[in-house]
Symmetry: C2
Subunit: 269 residues, 2 copies
């Protein structure tokens, strides 16, 4: 059996916990840590792997896994060879998506946008140093994974990330650049702080951000930010296409206005 690769872009959610918080329930942290072990997993996990990854004893892992299994958040692999995430997780996915006002507001606009655009359209939400995809409306030709909800990419080197940074102060932008683990995901990934700042400035002037092959070879993407009433950037809309069919200039000329329109429709609430 084949599985999709693990977290390619290595944007680990920041789980640095203030220890010795009197209100903090360790058992819950343990449980979530166990579930998070799967973020790094390329195949079903054994109990010992889970225990080791979580830095806990075998007994603890045993009880946590046992409990999560009872509740449906962990399952046995189809071949009974290891543990995999359980389907109950999707119930919470639904809750998140339907209770996030931005997702709710953006969805119809996104579908409308998709109707006028033959390319891939995404909605992403900011979480610290990364953008998490909440919806992906695939393009016709795309053969890739259907709707990879939960996939995340770094802010510093993506169109959506720059669209988001464009709505921040220089200080905040610097902080993001600083704290990000910048590596060349592709040869074209921009990692130099000054260059990133320049691209952010460019996004501020244009009203949209552009990224060329910084995450995926051959991919061109533009993005516009979604902001809260007070101006805080919350996420972005992306339109992504292939460089085999577009050059940067015509791509922008064609899609930037549409992306801007869509973002505008969502931002005025």
């Amino acid at each position: 059996m084949r599985y999709i690769q693990k977290a390619e872009y290595g944007v680990p959610p920041n789980t640095s916990i203030d220890e010795s918080d009197p209100l903090f329930v360790q058992a819950i942290a343990r449980a979530m840590q166990v579930l998070s072990t799967f973020h790094e997993a390329a195949k079903p996990l054994t109990l010992n792997e889970i225990a080791a990854a979580g830095g806990m004893g075998k007994s603890a892992a045993q009880r946590v896994v046992h409990t999560l299994r009872q509740l449906g958040y962990i399952d046995r692999d189809a071949d009974d060879r290891g543990y995999v995430p359980g389907i109950r997780i999707l119930d919470h996915t639904r809750d998140y998506l339907r209770m996030n006002p931005l997702v709710v507001r953006a969805s119809p606009v996104l579908m409308e946008l998709r109707r006028n655009v033959r390319e891939r359209v995404d909605l992403s939400l900011r979480d610290g140093l990364r953008l998490v995809y909440a919806a992906r409306l695939q393009s016709k030709r795309e053969t890739f994974f259907a709707t990879l909800v939960g996939q995340s990419v770094p802010i510093y080197c993506t169109s959506g990330g720059r669209a988001v940074m464009a709505h921040m102060s220089d200080a905040e932008v610097d902080e993001i650049i600083e704290r990000s683990v910048r590596r060349e995901i592709t040869p074209k990934t921009i990692t130099d702080p000054a260059a990133i700042r320049a691209k952010v400035q460019e996004a501020r002037e244009n009203g949209y951000a552009l990224a060329l092959e910084e995450i995926l070879q051959g991919e061109i993407a533009i993005a516009t930010a979604l902001v809260s009433p007070d101006g805080t950037p919350l996420g972005a809309i992306h339109i992504a296409g292939s460089l085999s069919e577009w050059d940067a200039e015509s791509f922008c000329r064609r899609f930037a206005p549409l992306a801007g329109e869509a973002a505008g429709a969502i931002n005025r609430f």
Copy 2:
């Protein structure tokens, strides 16, 4: 702010726990129960609501919520008026989708199917008495929610459910019918056990299942089952259209072969 409605079809995941299991960790169950409170929520929840719904004291709810917040599984509402599910949930969604072999295998086939079909195409997975949507490839005209991952529907009254039941023994089918809380979701919902058995038998003979307006007014849906190597049904592929454009007969004639082909491509692994 508007939110999507709560669990319309009322398929509560079966969380009847064997009490006094020596390996069972109550704190984890509490945490998950708190997160599950959102399943029934139509708006952000207060601490007291969470406590009440979970049958726990205010202190317990306080600590659980506090911990889950630290970890990112719960957030404050944008207006700071209540609690909502947190974005970290989506990380686990991704894990589930990419580590489920059926989803991985089915996704490309589903996209191919969608290319040849101008209607909505879904992938659903069986969980007890319900089917949970793991992917939804929307049709052009559809204005509804983008990709409602995690949405679930009952087995007894859906095309996918009948496709699944068609691959079970009569005894198993009867058990599902028996245990299901059958109610008329629409006036057309079939709730009579004998009638359901007849539809299942029909699905067995045709190789696909059909449902007319049993969940949604004006909706027609056909489905074919996805089965494991040993024949156990694991989920279904759906094609759904509108009765304003199709009559049942032509819908089946047009799409049943395609659905069957797709299921076949997935089932032979």
